[in-house]
Amino acid sequence: MRHVFSVRIGPVGFRIGSDWRAPIAQLESLYADYPAPRDGVPDFNVRLFAARPWRRFMRPAVMIGGDFVLPEAAPLPLAQGLLAAEMGMNLQMALGQRRFLLLHASVVERDGRALLMTGISGAGKSTLAALLGARGWRLMGDEFALVDPESGAIHAFPRLVSLKNEAIGVVEAGVPGGRFGPLLAGTPKGDIRHLVPEAAALAAMDKPAEPALILFPRFGFDPAERDVLPSEVFVRLTQASTNYVAIGERGFDALTRIVKTVPARAIDYPDTDSAIAQVEALWAAL
C-alpha cells in the first residue's frame, strides 16, 4: 500500500491504505483536525486497491478492502475514491465493531444529553444532524450511534457528514462557513458531498452523553408526532443495528435499558425548518 492515512474518530482508529495518492490527499485535508489512532495501533484497516495492476492507471477502479469485506462489492471510479474510503470505514464498523452496540442513527448533544435520530435512508437524519450542529448542538455523528453497553452512554463518532442530492443544497445554505469536501457526482447513491464537523465537535469527540430522546423522523409529510412504544422502539433499533446479534447479552442489556428509559417519538415533517422547530419543542418538553 503505497499511500497511507491513519485517523481516530471518537474511540475508533482507522488505517487507510491506497494504491492512489488522490483519495489519501483528500482524507488528509478533510480529517486534518482529527487525532491519530491511540498508541499508534488502529482498530481497523481499510484498503483502496486496484483489482489488477494495470487498473491502477487504465480506467482506474477502486476496490474496497480491509479487515472486513463484502465480497461482491462493485468498485468505484477513482474520482470517488473519498467515498470509497468512507464506505470502507462504514463497512469495518458495520461488520467488525464489537465493543459498542451500533445503532444506525445520527446523534447530536446538548447539555450532556444526546438526541438520536434513526430511520430509513432519506429520512433526513444526516441533514438534520448537520443543521442542528450549526444551531447550538454538538454533532456526535451522522451514521452510527455508539452505545456503551456497560454505562448506556452514547460515544461520539463524528465522521464527515455524508449529504446526498437535495440535502447538499439545503445544508450548504443552512451551514454558511461550513467546510465541505468535493462534490462527488454520479455515485451509486446520486450526488454526494461531505461536511466536516465543526472544530468544537471534534474537540469534544471524547465526551460521551446520556441518551435523552429518540426520534424516528419521516420527511415529506405534514407535521405530526406520535409516541413510540418501547417494544416498537426495540424492534426498530435492532433492525437499525448491524451488530446487536453479534455482541450477545451485552446488546440485550444496552438495548432494553434504552427502550425502557429513553422516550421515543415518531415525527413527520415537510421541511427542515419545521423539523428543527419540532425537535426543539420536543427537547424543551422533556
Binding site: 412504544l229 418501547p230 417494544s231 426495540f234 435492532t238 446479534v245 447479552e249 440485550f252 432494553t256 427502550v259
Partner: protein, 91 residues
C-alpha cells in the same frame, strides 16, 4: 402429549425484560432474542421450573390469566414454538 411435562428453560439461561405488551427474552444458550406476547410470557411464568402437563397448564392459564378461550390447538402451537426456540423443554 397429555402426559408430557413442559418446563420453562432454567431461569439462569434467560434474561427477561418486560417492555409493554411485549416481553423481550434473551436466551443465553442460543444468543437469540425473542419478543413474545400473550400467552407466551404467561405460559413461561406458569410452567416455571417444576413443569406441568398440558392439561394442567391449560387450566391454570384459564384461571390465573383469564386466557380461557385458548383452544388446545392454539396452545399446542404456542408450546411447540417455545420448545423450538429453546425457551421451554419437554421432560
Amino acid at each position: 402429549m397429555p402426559d408430557r411435562l413442559y418446563r420453562m428453560e432454567r431461569p439462569e439461561n434467560l434474561r427477561v425484560a418486560h417492555l409493554d405488551s411485549f416481553t423481550a427474552v434473551y436466551h443465553r444458550n442460543s444468543g437469540i432474542t425473542h419478543l413474545i406476547t400473550a400467552p407466551a410470557p404467561e405460559i413461561l411464568a406458569t410452567l416455571g421450573e417444576a413443569g406441568m402437563t398440558f392439561t394442567a397448564l391449560r387450566e391454570t392459564l384459564a384461571s390465573a390469566y383469564e386466557l380461557g378461550d385458548l383452544d388446545d390447538a392454539a396452545l399446542a402451537a404456542r408450546l411447540d414454538e417455545l420448545v423450538a426456540a429453546g425457551l421451554v423443554s419437554t421432560a
